[in-house]
């Protein structure tokens, strides 16, 4: 596609529910990144994918967070048993090679946990 696409743009969920956030990177981009933008923490780097592989998952905030990427394209960030502190904007970015310095960002998914 023309740019990084994220869906949904907004999501309101009840505490304790699971949510899935989707990222569709720019066509041909092999690397994909997830960031979280929250009021208290600012912008945090969560995880990156090279192809379908995520070499380092240590940036995920807790074991309730998981991410996968299939077919070297779409990625899903899943949050299980959501908590109010998970409320944030989740941003996805992609780049041609693994280089966060050359990544393009999507518009984000605003997650609100009530």
């Amino acid at each position: 596609g023309a740019g990084v696409s994220q869906s949904p743009s907004n999501k309101v969920t009840e505490k304790g529910k699971d949510v899935e956030l989707r990222c569709d990177p720019i066509s041909g981009h092999t690397a994909l990144y997830w960031y979280r933008q929250s009021l208290g923490q600012g912008l945090e780097f969560l995880i990156y994918f090279q192809g379908n592989s995520a070499p380092d998952k240590s940036g995920l905030p807790s074991d309730r967070f998981s991410a996968e990427r299939t077919g070297g394209s779409v990625s899903t960030l899943t949050i299980q048993r959501t908590q109010q502190e998970d409320s944030a904007v989740y941003l996805c970015a992609s780049s041609e090679g693994v280089d966060s310095a050359r990544a393009f960002f999507g518009q984000g998914t605003r997650l609100t946990v009530v």
Binding site: G42, P55, V98, A101, Q107
Partner: protein, 115 residues
Amino acid sequence: AQSVTQPDIHITVSEGASLELRCNYSYGATPYLFWYVQSPGQGLQLLLKYFSGDTLVQGIKGFEAEFKRSQSSFNLRKPSVHWSDAAEYFCAVRGSGGGADGLTFGKGTHLIIQP
């Protein structure tokens, strides 16, 4: 580990006036430095970046930034702001060694433009 400080949470500038947004970084070697802008409901748009070479970097929308190693700073400037420049501005850093490292962002500066 690298870090970024944006000392000003909010800045108010009159339309047509000059602008300088401050950014200080902490990193052991020469970093890659960035400025991004985020308008309401929009994603992050890259304004400019510094990797090496000329320390004065020109970006889009009339913005420029200067890398000063001695001050560990990368301040963003614009000679004359427009109302459309009202947005959140983020400075970011990444180590020059690893493309897989994510960017480390400052907490942002909210720019308000007065008519």
